[in-house]
């Protein structure tokens, strides 16, 4: 039976007045054992509206989880992908319409990215819109999601190298987001849950200034032995980001799996 240790940190950063990132991190016990549900939204839009977008989407996901988490698994304790995908799709589509209507009414344009992960005893399932990311850290650092950004698209098409993309002025231009796009086309990812792995969700503010090596060094499963360490290591990296003049809000969530007993 797998158990999970979780930790979430967020920081407004050094430049912005408001923190437009929103994070939901929950453990549920089911008849199959522990499951974890985490959602990270990075809101955008002038004034204080970005957090409206990210928070309302987080709320929608929380409501979904509270009502549906128990019916999201198959008989063997794995995730019912079809069911979950359909529900998430509906949720995102309807929130897109709601946020858009809110923006229209208030004469602002706002939106939010989302990366949500559901981790069961057997497997995990991710939905992603925008440039928030999910990683797995085991023997190395692996990105599970694919950024829906203009530069990432051009990297995939071979028009840019990943190095150029990091410096491209358009690096924070999303192809789509919830609340500002006509239609939203989320990506879904899935895989197996293994013991002694760390799942990490982070907003783009967390990953621009720190390197993959630093992340691996601070978050690899052999280092993260308890929730206290997880929290303090995350704080460390966030502070590192701030000293390196990261302007954005910074958020990171960690979920570590371990074998009970």
């Amino acid at each position: 039976m797998l158990k999970f240790a979780v930790s979430g940190n967020t920081d407004v950063g050094i430049k912005k007045e408001t923190n437009q990132d929103s994070l939901l991190l929950r453990k549920y016990s089911t008849c199959f054992g522990e499951v974890v549900f985490a959602v990270l939204c990075d809101g955008m839009g002038g004034l204080a509206k970005g957090e409206v977008a990210s928070a309302s989407l987080i709320n929608a996901f929380r409501n979904w989880a509270d009502e549906n988490i128990m019916t999201s698994f198959t008989k063997d304790g794995g995730i019912n992908y079809e069911e979950v995908q359909m529900k998430w799709m509906t949720l995102i589509t309807s929130m897109n319409a709601k946020i858009k209507a809110y923006g229209r009414q208030n004469g602002v344009s706002l939106g939010t990215t989302v990366t949500a992960i559901l981790i069961s005893q057997k497997d995990y399932y991710i939905v992603n819109v925008g440039d928030t990311r999910a990683y797995i850290i085991s023997d190395a650092l692996y990105v599970l999601t694919e950024d829906q950004t203009l530069v990432e698209k051009e990297v995939r098409e071979g028009k840019l190298t990943p190095e150029q993309a990091e410096k491209d002025p358009r690096r924070s231009v999303l192809l789509q987001c919830v609340g500002a796009s006509e239609n939203v086309y989320p990506d879904f990812f899935y895989g197996e849950t293994m013991p002694d792995t760390v799942f990490m969700l982070c907003s783009d503010g967390f990953r621009h200034e720190v390197t993959a090596e630093e992340i691996f060094g601070a978050f690899n499963p052999s280092v993260l032995c308890d929730e206290q360490t997880m929290y303090s290591n995350a704080t460390c990296l966030i502070e590192a980001n701030k000293t390196r003049q990261e302007r954005d809000n910074i958020t990171v969530a960690l979920i570590r799996s371990y074998q009970e007993g």
């Binding site: 990075d42 229209r104 004469g107 939106g111 925008g130 358009r170 231009v173 999303l174 500002a180 086309y185």
Partner: protein, 581 residues
């Protein structure tokens, strides 16, 4: 917020709210004294962080806009400032934004889009040539009003430039920045007139294809990959407008306007027509030269020219990516060069004709075009090819009349195809037969199908003479007998005659010859009209009876007929299997 029904500045009565911009609300108002409708844009104070800065910008901007006068721009007539609001009074534009047309009807007709493009280009040109130049930066269907008279007006122009300079260091989303040109994201040089040209190109793309470039696949594809009916000239224009590097785009609206005015000329079709005209002109020039100094020029040179022209046309005609019309035109032109080895062009034209449409058949128009080919066949070089081509055409014509439900009569088909079969036979007579048969030519088939043609002639001539149940009369001459029998076959019961020892062998042979064709050309409609009298087994039985009889007949003619009956039976069985499957 303005109150509906309130009076502004002692003149304007606010009637209703008509729009909701990013930072502003637009109202419809009436000047009660002049009885004229205006739009009033209210810049909302509550939506703006530092209203004072914005207000200063607005004053400068509106002062500048007030001086603008262009048929595709709303004029600003008044600016009303008070402590807490900033109102811009401008023309009230009737109609709906193009984004609404897109939502309701999807892609817009190309002709309209080009007309709008010209108007937009004109207004951008006007803005760009002000001093200092005004860059619009926010071209999108939502900002283009389509008026009831079909003209357009560029709206949302009252907003100060400051608002449009988005802080792109923050995360943004494609849709919200419009069709932002690459340089609008910063870091790639200044925005200038060419930025507007990019956005105009993206707008045209969206309008003419119905595909939003801000949605997957997030790309501006060649418009004809979405709708092949669209103009290649417009395709070129849109591609050029939306180049990533501003230097690769049209450099000014005047340049773009020229392209739009002449889009048909950069269109493939137009280019083709021009080429054709040039061809006609050139060929007449060549002929003149040939007439003048023909004696001194070897014919080879001319032939080389023809060959070159032929090959060029052929290569156009075989391009699968091109439209049917384009290919047809090129292939026909290729044949018309009178090149003596134009086999590929003819074959490809036939393939094109047979391969299009749902039925794999020629259409009446195609049928007529094929007739034109006739006059070019004699000048072909190889007799084998001539025979093969005539045979192929004949078979297609036969098919045309045999397969189609309305003209379902292979007898007519064989009659129409007869001349081609005959030509084919004539050419075959001069050919190397074994070589020809490798190419799918079949003398046997020709004989059968030509006989069917003869039969149809007889039927044609006998109209009105026959009566269904007329009994055979030995005294009647052979021709009359044949006719009677033909009609008897139609009603199905003719096997008795073969078994009847009183019937002369000559007549029995005729029964077998034409009866077998008749059975073979039984179409579904004919079978239906025969009702219960018809069955597959009955037909096979009839063929077997005929074969049995012909085997017993020692006559030389009977042996030939036997061969053809056997083939027809096989084919009938095959065709029947086909229709079962």
């Amino acid at each position: 917020m303005l109150k509906i029904g309130s009076l502004i500045d002692g003149k304007y009565r606010v009637l209703s709210e008509i729009g909701h911009g990013g930072m502003s609300v637009v109202y419809m108002a009436i000047n009660e004294k002049a009885n004229k409708t205006w739009a009033i844009k209210e810049v909302r104070k509550d939506g703006i962080k530092d209203f004072e800065v914005v207000r200063q910008g607005l004053i400068v901007e509106t002062e500048m806009l007030k001086r603008l006068s262009h048929p595709n721009l709303p004029s600003i007539v008044d600016v009303i400032e008070s402590d807490d609001t900033f109102l811009i009074v401008m023309d009230y534009i009737e109609g709906n934004p193009l984004s609404q047309s897109l939502e309701e009807f999807g892609a817009q007709p190309q002709d309209y889009v080009i007309d709008w493009a010209k108007q937009l280009c004109d207004v951008l040109e006007y803005l760009h040539t002000r001093t200092p130049a005004i860059i619009y930066r926010d071209m999108k269907p939502a900002n283009i009003m389509l008026k009831p008279d079909g003209n357009i007006t560029l709206i949302d122009f009252g907003t100060a430039r400051e608002f449009k300079e988005k802080n792109l260091a923050d995360t943004t989303c494609l849709g919200t920045v419009g069709y932002a040109a690459p340089e609008q994201f910063g870091g790639m040089g200044q925005t200038d007139a060419r930025t507007d040209i990019y956005c105009l190109g993206a707008t045209l793309y969206h309008l003419v294809t119905g595909c939003n470039p801000c949605e997957p696949p997030y790309e501006i594809l060649p418009i004809r990959s979405i709708n092949p009916q669209l103009s290649s000239g417009l395709e070129r224009i849109i591609i050029k407008c939306t180049q990533r590097n501003p230097d690769d785009r049209y450099q000014s609206c005047a340049e773009l306007m020229y392209a739009l005015d002449h889009y048909e000329e950069i269109d493939d079709k137009y280019r083709r027509e021009q080429k054709k005209k040039l061809r006609i002109f050139l060929s007449s020039v060549i002929m003149m030269f040939a007439a003048l100094i023909g004696a001194f020029i070897s014919i080879g040179v001319n032939n080389k020219q023809i060959e070159k022209k032929y090959k060029e046309l052929l290569s156009n005609g075989v391009r699968l990516s091109e439209s049917y019309e384009y290919r047809e035109e090129n292939l026909i032109s290729a044949i018309e060069t009178n090149y003596n080895e134009a086999y590929d062009a003819i074959d490809n034209l036939l393939e094109l004709y047979i391969g299009t449409g749902s039925d794999n058949l020629l259409s009446p128009q195609e049928f007529n075009n094929i007739k034109i080919i006739d006059s070019y066949i004699p000048s072909l070089k190889s007799n084998e090819e001539k025979a093969r081509i005539c045979y192929k055409i004949a078979c297609n014509i036969f098919q045309y009349y045999s397969n189609d439900g309305k003209e379902s009569n292979s007898i007519i088909g064989s009659d129409k195809a007869r001349q081609w079969f005959k030509n084919s036979k004539d050419y075959a007579a001069k050919s190397n037969m074994s070589l020809l048969e490798e190419k799918g030519y079949s003398q046997k088939n020709i004989d059968i199908l030509m006989n069917l043609g003869d039969f149809s002639e007889i039927l044609e001539n006998s109209k009105g003479l026959q009566e269904e149940n007329e009994r055979l009369d030995g005294e009647k001459n052979d021709k009359q007998n044949t006719i009677d029998t033909c009609w008897k076959y139609l009603s199905g019961g003719f096997l008795d005659d073969i078994k009847n020892p009183n019937v002369q062998p000559l007549y029995k042979r005729m029964i077998c010859k034409y009866g077998s064709f008749m059975l073979y050309s039984n179409t579904v409609s004919m079978q239906k009209s025969l009702g219960e009298n018809y069955s597959y087994e009955k037909v096979i039985m009839a063929y077997n009876e005929m074969i049995n009889y012909l085997k017993s007949d020692d006559n030389e003619q009977a042996k030939n007929i036997l061969e053809s009956v056997k083939i027809l039976k096989e084919q009938f069985e095959y065709a029947n299997r086909e229709s079962d499957a």
